[in-house]
């Protein structure tokens, strides 16, 4: 019978390391060659923060162009490039790296491991992702090929064939799009393998599967989903390159090829991809909501089951993006049903979160505020998702601004809100300092207001018949005022993100010293120092319940007495 080998948080002084620093070059070199999961996690997050600003700027350009009818701020070609790059960047260079960055940083700490299962593969995956991003953006310089400079992919992030064929997309822009995503896709694939191996094989003593923190559980589920999600896209992009470079006919409608098969392949990737992005958001909420409600998560086994359920159901709903391509009525009915069924496990999650709040003592810190924003917005996004799953209505709403509004509710209202929550929540662990709460609250409220001005309004534009992907519109369609409102909301969000960027940098120098456990939380990452040492834990920890720190802080009332 061993003692608890966890350090007692009350007895360790909060110390911020003041080792002598190397020269700038040495420091840079250290970061480039690092295989430490914490540094790679930070690199992922910095990388995606950078691209968040880039793709956010692209969105603002798009909104300036659409603020007025017949606007000439951007030309048709530039607009098409911007919306393509905005979508591609946000999904592949912001969403996934952010979430895998958190996974990288937090998972080994939460399971009491020293590092990921394959540290060098981890570094390799990060640099693949990073170079994939650079390759995509290099297309602005090299995409025109021999014809000159200044081109980028302009086929939409969904890149429907045959628009991507050589005859409709000459030059190299589309090749950069495919190659960049293949490269970063392999990076993502590597990280997914790594997280699975880490969670399965590196857990500390006592951490059975049903004692893993929900964040780790969901990262495991996401990684398994990623394995079978990103790879179909890679396969389809290989086909596209075979068509473009070797004269293949996969998507060549002149030689009997089919556009539909690309659309199927893309959404076999594309829909589970939504869950690849949103499950980590759930994972973050699963950590933050209990801590600031001061209660254990309600219905832990149901949360795990619902996540695994979402994973499986999400693999059978892709064609709900294809209700207008002319499938049979039976297929349309099938995909309507399967899509609606996703609502059931998702509903369980929302109810469990509310039940976690119920009877708690809710502290409205910045990370918690973002999680609450997430709860409301995800509820609405889920309900508009039900509306879109009603295939006849989708014949109207598909490819309209209603869809744009819906998926931004998911990707911004849920995913980005949770990413911000996670940044505020784990920032003190990674840096040793807290982010400024006042600026954090400004950031939250401005972002929330801007978000609702923009995306609530977009729903109505869709109902009024405005299609997506258009660089201009006619002044007689009744869309003018609403578009102006949407654009103004975008600016408000821009300001909020700038406040965040300032806070993010300034707190590094001026932030309040955090200590090991600033939020009075319960998972293993809060037992080690902030920032954690390279080796993470002085001794390999051993756990007996889902909340090892709760057991430690409440020795008279430990969790393991209640867990089945």
């Amino acid at each position: 019978m061993s003692d608890y080998s966890l350090p007692n948080p009350g007895t360790i002084e909060a110390v911020v390391s003041d080792e002598p620093r190397g020269t700038l070059l040495e420091t840079l070199h250290e970061w480039v060659i690092t295989v430490d999961h914490k540094r790679l996690g930070i690199l992922y997050i910095l990388y995606s923060t950078f691209f968040l600003l880039v793709a956010g700027a692209e969105a603002l350009f798009i909104r300036i162009q659409l603020a007025f009818p017949h606007n000439h701020f951007l030309s048709a070609q530039v607009y098409n490039r911007f919306f393509t790059m905005h979508g591609t960047t946000m999904v592949f260079l912001v969403g996934m790296p952010f979430l895998f960055g958190f996974g990288n940083y937090v998972v080994p700490l939460q399971i009491g491991a020293r590092d990921m299962a394959f540290p060098r593969l981890n570094a390799f995956s990060f640099w693949l992702t990073a170079f994939g991003g650079l390759l995509l953006y290099y297309s602005f310089l090299g995409g025109g090929g021999l014809y000159g400079v200044g081109n980028a992919p302009d086929v939409g992030w969904f890149a429907y064939a045959p628009l991507t064929a050589r005859s409709f997309s000459p030059g190299h822009a589309t090749d950069y799009w495919a190659l960049a995503l293949i490269v970063s896709g392999f990076g993502t694939f590597g990280t997914a393998i790594n997280i699975i191996a880490t969670v399965v094989s590196m857990r500390c003593k006592g951490m059975t599967l049903m004692r893993m923190p929900l964040f780790t559980w969901l990262m495991l589920v996401v990684s398994m989903l990623t394995l079978v999600t990103i790879t179909p896209l890679t396969a389809a992009q290989f086909m596209l390159l075979i068509d473009r470079y070797l004269g293949g006919h996969f998507f060549d409608t002149q030689a009997g090829g089919s556009s539909l098969i690309w659309i199927h392949f893309f959404w076999i990737f594309g829909h589970p991809e939504v869950y690849v992005l949103v499950l980590p958001a759930f994972a973050i909420a699963n950590e933050i909501i209990p801590v600031f409600s001061r209660k254990a998560i309600f219905g832990y086994p149901a949360m795990v089951a619902a996540s695994v359920g979402i994973m499986f159901v999400s693999l059978s709903v892709w064609a709900h993006h294809m209700f207008t391509v002319g499938m049979t009525s039976t297929s349309n009915a099938f995909f309507t049903l399967s899509t609606m069924l996703v609502g059931v496990p998702t509903g369980i999650k929302i109810f469990n979160w509310i039940a976690t709040l119920w009877g708690g003592r809710i502290r409205f810190t910045t990370p918690m505020l973002f999680c609450i924003g997430f709860l409301f917005q995800f509820l609405i996004a889920g309900l508009t998702g039900i509306m879109l799953s009603v295939s006849p209505w989708d014949w109207q709403l598909h490819n309209s601004y209603f869809v744009i509004a819906h998926f931004h509710y998911v990707l911004v209202g849920a995913v980005v809100f949770c990413i911000f929550a996670a940044l505020y929540f784990w920032y003190p662990k990674a840096t040793g300092r807290l982010m400024n709460e006042t600026l954090g609250k400004w950031h939250f409220w401005l972002f929330l207001i801007g978000f609702h001005i923009t995306f609530d309004t977009m729903h109505f534009l869709g109902l009024l018949g405005m299609p997506r992907s258009i660089y201009t519109y006619q002044p007689d369609r009744g869309w003018n005022f609403l578009n102006l409102v949407v654009s103004l909301g975008g600016m408000v969000q821009g300001v909020a993100v700038l406040i965040f960027a300032y806070n993010f940098i300034a707190s590094l120098f001026q932030g309040e010293i955090a200590g090991d456990d600033p939020w009075d939380a319960w998972t293993l990452e809060w037992t080690t120092s902030s920032p954690p040492p390279v080796y993470n834990f002085e001794e390999p920890p051993e756990v007996h319940s889902r909340r090892p720190l709760w057991d430690l802080k409440h020795p008279d009332d430990p969790d393991w007495e209640y867990e089945a």
Binding site: M1, S2, D3, Y4, S5, P7, N8, T11, A117, F118, L121, F189, A192, I193, N194, I196, A197, T198, V200, S201, M202, R203, K205, G206, S223, M224, L227, V228, T229, I230, T231, P232, T234, A235, A236, F238, M239, I242, D243, L246, G247, G248, H249, F250, A255, G256, G257, S258, I261, F265, I268, E538, E539, H544, D551, L552, P555, D556, P558, W560
Partner: protein
């Protein structure tokens, strides 16, 4: 470090977790299976949709020898696995060598098949949909055989120089798992391309 003593659950079970290399390889195989599935679906979807010839039944011959070689290499690598676990290194090297010879025979078979298709039948990747899907699918599999061959050859070199022993048996197990996967995929590709699709 200060520790707190507290009430603890009585059960202190032994703590065994699966080998990470095997877990990682299984994950890799799951993802690779998805890639192959997409190519197989494309092949099946486009069966008989080519606008021009040649058609599969005109030009394809069933690669019996290559198939026998590749499938029996699963057996030889399984013998090599047993050998390294029991630390019979001579036997390990021999079975591994046999596996490599079988794999090379398979690749030679594929190469001569392609040569015939290209020079005699005039079927290239850009000829028609059949050419595109056939070379992509079979080529993707052959690429995996080449990668597997590289892994096996490096293990073979190490064992020739006596750098491998039973301590590496788990690692070699991961390589062998990959090889079994490559063989398993061939069963699917073979059935789809040479049996169903011909």
């Amino acid at each position: 470090m200060s520790t707190v003593s507290t009430r603890l659950p009585v059960r202190a079970a032994e703590w065994h977790l699966p080998y990470k290399g095997r877990v990682g390889m299984s994950a890799l195989i799951a993802g690779e299976s998805a890639i192959f599935t997409i190519f197989v679906v494309a092949y099946v979807f486009y069966l008989g949709k080519s606008v021009t010839g040649p058609r599969p039944s005109d030009v394809l011959e069933v690669p019996i020898i290559g198939t026998i070689c590749l499938l029996s290499s699963s057996l030889t690598i399984w013998r090599a696995e047993r050998a390294i676990e029991d630390d019979r290194m001579g036997s390990f090297t021999a079975w591994l060598g046999a596996t490599i010879v079988l794999a090379i025979t398979f690749l030679i078979g594929t190469a001569s098949e392609w040569k015939k298709l290209i020079y005699q039948d005039g079927l290239t990747i850009s000829t028609n949909l059949f050419g595109t899907t056939f070379y992509s699918l079979v080529g993707l599999h052959a690429t995996h055989v080449v990668i597997g061959l590289a892994l096996l050859s490096s293990a073979f070199l190490f064992s020739l120089f006596g750098r491998v022993d039973s301590r590496q048996s788990e690692r070699f197990g991961a390589v062998a798992l990959y090889w079994h996967f490559v063989d398993g995929v061939w069963v699917v590709v073979f059935s789809v391309v040479y049996l169903i699709g011909r």
